[in-house]
């Protein structure tokens, strides 16, 4: 192999790299939180008694799941201004990520909800809880727990997918790698480092989600 690796040359650009990494972290945190919220609302809409909400939610999921993410992103950033909706690169990137994650999570969370034993809902009704209280207090928590690992995987997929928003010049990790290799032509090193950083992020995300999960879903006896 005649290629000599030169990671040292990347040090010069470590600020760029770290800024990119930080942006990716921010994109991920914001879109994960909002995406989960959207997924819950989408799933709630899917079983709402109002048919407009039900069908609207289904249409939303189908639309997003059957179109490429990059097209969704371009539509939001380049398309929407044509009808007067303008936003910054970062705003457009986050919006696209949230909408995308929300659609997949709607489907995932809905599957968890569908497995709710009917008797539990009846017991809750018998106790006098309203439909909304039943959804929030009785249906959602165990449903979310049932599909938690799928939710986590989907959030990680979206973190990785956030690389695509470099295409509208959001200065995140992939953008940084592109930038660096365009300067020093060290494509191999630049992208390898970026890949390792993504790997690290994915690992950390899983770790954090697992910590949250094991606390939130603990069935250890509670002291009163």
């Amino acid at each position: 192999m005649g290629y000599e690796l030169n990671f040292g040359a990347l040090l010069e650009y470590q600020d760029v790299l770290l800024a990119g990494l930080w942006m990716t972290v921010k994109l991920t945190v914001v879109s994960t939180l909002l995406g989960i919220l959207l997924g819950i609302l989408g799933a709630a809409a899917r079983r709402h008694r109002n048919p407009v909400l039900r069908h609207g939610s289904k249409a939303y999921v189908e639309l997003i799941r059957n179109t490429p993410f990059i097209v969704q992103l371009f539509f939001i950033f380049f398309g929407l201004p044509a009808i007067g909706i303008k936003m910054t690169e970062v705003e457009a990137g986050i919006l696209a990520l949230v909408i995308n994650l929300g659609a997949y999570l709607t489907e995932i969370i809905r599957a968890g909800i569908d497995n709710t034993p009917k008797g539990q809902i009846e017991a809750a009704r018998t106790l006098g809880l309203s439909s909304r209280q039943i959804f929030i207090r009785i249906i959602l928590p165990p449903a979310f727990q049932r599909v938690y690992s799928s939710v986590v995987s989907q959030c990680i997929i979206v973190m990785l997918g956030s690389a695509v928003v470099s295409q509208i010049s959001v200065q995140e990790l992939t953008f940084a790698a592109n930038f660096i290799q365009s300067r020093n032509f060290l494509s191999f090193e630049s992208y390898l480092v970026a890949a390792l950083l993504y790997l690290l992020l994915a690992f950390l995300m899983r770790l954090i989600f697992n910590l949250i999960g094991s606390r939130a879903f603990s069935r250890e006896e509670k002291q009163s």
Partner: protein, 242 residues
């Protein structure tokens, strides 16, 4: 005046005529056992009494309220009627204490401290005072069912509907649950039980309602009816279960 009054109630599931004109009056403090073969409409009748199931004709008045499946009405009814199910239906993500405190705090706006006291009280009553912080999955079926009873009692209902609440239990756990019911009966709680426990129906129950093909086929004082059934159908049914 009766606490529950069922007047000529008919119920269809599609083409299936499940309840064919039920008339039934239940007085406060009465313990009524509904018996009958599988598919005779026992559960359906019970579920119509608290608005879990709609009916197509007739009227059910419970504690002065017309029973319907309208959400607002069901919520209002929940202050007067409780229900315990064959499958316990505890909320798995909540501790025993939280299961019990949920409805009083949400529906009756009872303060947390008061609800806690109430929960502890009803738990003691069913003999599970030490399980407050435990999760349902850690309890035996019999214990879960007693928690379910306690959860209903915390809403201080005037009548408790029980649909085969011992049928899913291992035989050795049935006694503990029946003991709780017996104690409730002794305290004057109005109980409507769908049950296969003939001994319980005879010894603790006041009245037996035998359902057959969607109708009240025979009814009367528990001891009399079970000792001396008048219809061949009830005679046959008793012969089959005893």
């Amino acid at each position: 005046m009766s606490l529950v009054s069922v007047r000529d109630v008919h119920k269809y599931f599609g083409d299936l005529h499940v309840l064919k004109g039920i008339d039934l009056d239940i007085k406060a403090g009465e313990v009524v056992s509904i018996i009958g073969r599988s598919g005779s409409g026992k559960s359906t009748l019970l579920r119509c009494m608290n608005g879990l199931e709609s009916y197509d004709q007739g009227a059910i008045i419970l504690d002065g309220m017309e029973v319907s499946t309208d959400e607002f009405q069901v919520r209002k009814l929940s202050q007067s009627v409780g229900m315990v199910f064959q499958s316990f239906n505890l909320f798995p993500h909540l501790t025993v204490g939280e299961n019990i405190m949920l409805a009083p705090t949400l529906i009756k706006k009872t303060s947390k401290a008061e609800a806690k006291k109430l929960a502890q009280e009803v738990l003691e009553k069913v003999g599970l005072g030490d399980k407050f912080g435990q999760y349902p999955e850690k309890l035996s079926g019999g214990q879960q069912q007693r928690v379910a009873i306690a959860r209903s009692l915390a809403m201080k209902p005037k009548v408790l509907l029980c649909d085969e609440i011992t049928s899913a239990l291992d035989p050795e756990l049935v006694g503990d649950v029946l003991k709780v019911l017996e104690q409730l009966a002794a305290e004057g709680m109005t109980l409507v039980l769908v049950t296969h426990e003939m001994n319980f129906a005879r010894d603790v129950g006041d009245r037996v309602v035998f359902m057959h093909q969607g109708k009240v086929h025979e009814t009367g004082d528990a001891k009399t009816v079970l000792a001396d059934p008048q219809t061949p159908e009830l005679r046959q049914f008793i012969g089959a279960v005893l």
